[in-house]
């Protein structure tokens, strides 16, 4: 500042704190000018909350990336904890034959679905050497049989944490189904044979040509037995091995897959949370971040005081208000002084009013001094008369009293000074919305 300030600073650049207005009421004076001492409007101590302005999605997700990472990790961890050992399944197929009618095929197929999962068959399967030692109750819970629609095939599927074991068990169950069907057929054959033998053993009672009658009876029985045996043979051949299980595939998800899904789910839900919460409470860290989150803002840095001064001169306005967000009073004061110096350099005479309570500590000390009365419209529109200078630069905190005096007006230029890592986006938005008519510039102080 010293390099830019000409020697006749006292003449052209009046850095001053304006005295409090006369408390005697309207007509009080500051120097030679009457300064009304109307009390400032009593408003809420908070600026009205700006309407939600959603930040661009990608910028928001980029700004909240730690949320996504943490949620993704939590999901992965949950998936790892909840995931179970990989289960494998192997399928053996039995083939139905001897039936051609579609309805009978369906009935036979669905019957064998039930047979394959029935306790006797499962128990029989566990007696085979290949899977000896398997508990029937355990195997029963892992076997499913499904008739494939419009085919002669019934798939017997067994699940196991060991793929090889699943193959053996599927083949064992298939063999048990076939053996069971054959045994059933044998038993029926035997029952029939026994019945026939029993009939054959019975002698014919009565008179007549006993030999001829007996011969005829034997012939009929022989034919009957032959037909019955043929039928049983056909029935016994109704179930054969379609294909043995030779390989196994993964069934369901493994622990890594569950972890992956959990991670993806967590990541996505983290994104949902980030989008729902928005960027309002986020403290701005870098100018680029602010640009990304609020692209519609006019953003400058504290080193661009000259550009702001130039804008003010081009605009034709005579008042610049530098609004300080909480935690930025010194930055705002310095920026206001820098702009005033630039204006002076351009040949304008400037009155700089620093209405910022620089004392920090308790919140009461941050209450606005009464100097904000200089923001009154009548004073701003007649700067020359009140201050005998061309320009008025006012630095004040963005409290309702000060903002209320300039809100909705466009005959001044407003600069809002925020601080990296301290000011939140919502604070910026609230202040920008309050002085939107003045087309405010946001200055981000490091």
């Amino acid at each position: 500042m010293s390099a830019m300030t000409p020697p006749d600073e006292d003449r052209a650049l009046r850095v001053q704190t304006v005295p409090k207005p006369d408390g005697s009421g309207p007509g009080g004076s500051t120097g030679s000018h009457p300064v009304p001492a109307e009390p400032l409007p009593a408003e809420s101590r908070r600026l009205p909350k700006a309407a939600a302005r959603p930040a661009p999605v990608l910028a928001l997700l980029r700004a909240r990336w730690p949320w996504l990472v943490i949620a993704g990790l939590m999901g992965t961890l949950a998936g790892l904890l909840l995931g179970t050992t990989q289960i494998y399944q192997a399928t053996a197929t039995i083939r139905l034959s001897g039936v051609t009618d579609p309805l009978q095929v369906k009935q036979a197929g669905q019957t064998y679905e039930e047979i394959a999962q029935s306790p006797p068959v499962i128990e029989k399967a566990t007696t085979y050497n290949s899977i000896k030692g398997t508990a029937p109750e355990d195997l029963a819970t892992r076997v499913t049989a499904v008739w494939a629609l419009d085919t002669y095939l019934v798939d017997i599927t067994v699940k196991n944490s060991s793929g090889e074991r699943a193959v053996l068990e599927a083949n064992a169950v298939m063999t048990a189904v076939i053996d069971s069907a054959n045994a059933q057929a044998d038993r029926k054959n035997k029952e029939l044979k026994d019945a026939v033998i029993k009939v054959l053993a019975d002698k014919v009672q009565g008179s007549g040509d006993a030999t001829a009658v007996e011969q005829g009876r034997r012939d009929r029985l022989g034919f009957g037995l032959g037909d019955a045996q043929l039928g049983q043979i056909v029935q016994a051949g109704a179930v054969t091995a379609g294909s043995q299980a030779a390989s196994y595939i993964a069934a369901g998800t493994s622990r890594p897959v569950a972890a992956g899904l959990g991670g993806i789910g967590g990541l996505i839900l983290g994104a949902v949370a980030a989008l729902l919460v928005g960027a309002g409470r986020r403290r701005i860290r870098t100018p680029n971040e602010l640009r990304a989150l609020a692209p519609e803002l006019t953003l400058r840095s504290t080193t661009q005081a000259g550009e702001v001064a130039g804008r003010l001169l081009e605009s034709g306005h005579s008042t610049l208000v530098v609004l300080s967000l909480p935690s930025t009073p010194s930055s705002a004061s310095r920026f206001a002084a820098a702009v005033a110096n630039h204006l002076r350099t351009h040949g304008s005479s400037v009155t700089l009013v620093n209405a910022i309570a620089l004392e920090s500590g308790d919140s009461s000390s941050m209450a606005l001094p009464d100097e904000v009365w200089v923001l009154r419209r009548d004073i701003r529109q007649d700067v020359k008369s009140y201050f005998s200078t061309d320009m008025l630069v006012v630095a004040c905190t963005a409290e309702p009293e000060a903002v209320g005096l300039i809100s909705g007006q466009s005959d001044l230029m407003a600069v809002i000074v925020a601080k990296e890592g301290r000011s939140s986006l919502q604070q910026v938005w609230d202040t920008v919305s309050a002085v939107e008519s003045a087309d405010p510039i946001v200055v981000l102080a490091p």
Partner: protein
């Protein structure tokens, strides 16, 4: 802008050569109020963008991704199309739907490990989950230009594509009537890995007949072809296409001999009865009644008539879509309380239906969502899916798509069934004009027909927006505007 041959009156007509779209995050699209030529170019580009995707859907519906033979190529095409739309600046992200889609995808992913741990006999297919997420991913975008004029222009393109499809169906039936036996030329010409398998491409209208349900040789199933034609019929009516095009589409709809397209048209027209546009519907009544009487005399009409009363038959198509799935799946869902809460696993409903041995049994959207993902994740998914029907420019199209996809079609992971919803409703939401049905003057079909029949003269009915004269109006406006340019 390119200067073209001078108009007869000596005014230099300048035609927009190529739309110069502003990048989505670098600035807005042309404002039609400020830049009429830019607005018109945007309108044309948007309508063509959506209409071309509809045409691609019709043409490529039988094609599969070679790497995943069971997955339709449309599952890849639509997201790619969306990316292209974003790059061209025709589309933008829609925040609410993005949030819902993210919530649905995240919840459904998180619930899978829980199913594996706590549900008795879960059936989990990660591919099925990924398919659900991928199919509904295009809901997260919306078109930038959602004006009514753009929507109607897009409807005209859909109607024209449907008319071509209908012509294909009529040729299909005509060849059968001429004694040419049905052959699947597409399957013969292309290697099987390129085409989706296990779909009922077509089948005889009645058992033993040589007449097959028309699919124009390119349709995946007659029901899907019928659905596209039904949509085209509604689009044609709304966009004021000539009556002969309407009749052509109706002819194709009859040739397809499937109920899905008729259901779409019927529901849409019932919805229209609740809006001022019903006055135009009344004008079509004599034509419609005459058409129905003529139709029932044909085998196609008899077959369609049979569909109306078949719901009581357990093996009917209606029952297999709308009744049996619920009665069959309910006991299998409630048998395990944790399955009710967490679901049986992605793809489980499809597996159980396939294993049921009931041919033609489908899994409607509510069954699939809640059976597979349970009540908690199911509600989030349902919210995501249902929100895609909200805010479209046409209430009739929104409602008819809802009825079709939630009650009649496998409308959750079948891209060919879901795509029409995106094209006609979701991408046009939130609407910026009142619903189309609220303005009877938009339905120029009736007016055009009446005009040609010398019953109505232009200017007789005053509407705020007149499609029938829109072209001429725009041309003259464009000439006026462009005439001032050097």
């Amino acid at each position: 802008m390119t200067a073209v041959a001078a108009a007869p009156d000596g005014v230099s007509v300048v035609r927009p050569r190529r739309i110069t779209m502003v990048h989505p995050w670098r600035g807005p699209a042309p404002d039609p109020a400020v830049d009429p030529a830019g607005g018109l170019a945007l309108e044309q580009a948007t309508a063509r963008f959506v209409g071309a995707l509809f045409a691609a859907m019709v043409l490529l519906q039988r094609f599969s991704t070679v790497a995943l033979p069971d997955v339709s190529i449309l599952v890849l095409l639509v997201p790619a199309w969306v990316v292209w739309g974003l790059l061209r600046g025709l589309m933008q992200l829609e925040r609410n739907r993005l949030l819902l889609w993210l919530a649905a995808a995240g919840t459904s992913a998180i619930v899978v490990p829980l199913q594996q741990r706590f549900v008795t006999e879960p059936i989990i297919s990660v591919t099925a989950w990924a398919l659900l997420v991928a199919v509904w991913l295009p809901t997260v975008v919306t078109l930038k230009d959602r004006r009514r004029t753009t929507f109607v222009r897009m409807l005209r393109i859909i109607a024209r594509v449907a008319a071509v499809l209908a012509a294909g169906c009529l040729v299909f039936i005509g060849s059968a009537l001429a004694g040419v036996p049905y052959q699947d030329y597409l399957a013969e010409a292309l290697p099987s890995p390129l085409l989706l398998q296990d779909f009922v491409i077509t089948y005889p209208i009645v058992y033993g007949s040589n007449l097959y349900r028309a699919n124009a040789w390119i349709g995946l199933e007659p029901s899907f072809v019928s659905m596209q034609l039904g949509l085209g019929l509604v689009a044609a009516f709304m966009s004021g296409i000539r009556l002969r095009v309407l009749v052509l589409i109706i002819g194709g709809l009859v040739a397809a001999t499937a109920g899905s397209g008729l259901a779409i048209a019927a529901v849409a027209f019932v919805v229209m009865l609740g809006y001022p546009v019903r006055n135009n519907l009344v004008r079509y009544l004599p034509v419609a009644i005459g058409g129905v009487i003529a139709l029932v005399a044909t085998p196609f009409g008899q077959s369609i008539l049979g569909r109306l009363t078949e719901a009581g038959d357990q093996q009917s198509s209606t029952s297999l879509r709308g009744i049996l799935p619920y009665s069959y799946m309910w006991p299998r869902w409630v048998s395990d309380p944790l399955a009710v809460v967490l679901g049986r696993g992605p793809g489980s409903s499809q597996k159980i239906v396939l294993d049921s041995g009931i041919m033609g049994l489908l899994t409607p959207s509510p069954v699939k969502i809640f059976f597979e993902y349970g009540v908690i994740a199911g509600l989030v998914i349902a919210a995501c899916l249902l929100y895609a029907y909200v805010g479209g420019p046409s209430r009739a199209l929104s409602v008819t798509m809802l009825v079709s996809l939630w009650l009649l079609q496998p409308g959750t992971t079948t891209m060919i069934a879901v795509m029409p919803l995106f094209l006609t409703t979701t991408w046009w939401s939130p609407r910026i004009d009142p619903v189309l049905e609220s303005d009877q003057a938009t339905y120029a079909a009736a007016r055009g027909w009446l005009q040609r029949a010398a019953v109505w003269r232009p200017g007789q009915v005053v509407g705020t927006w007149r499609l029938g004269r829109r072209r001429r109006g725009l041309s003259s406006a464009a000439r006026t505007m462009r005439g001032s340019q050097p």
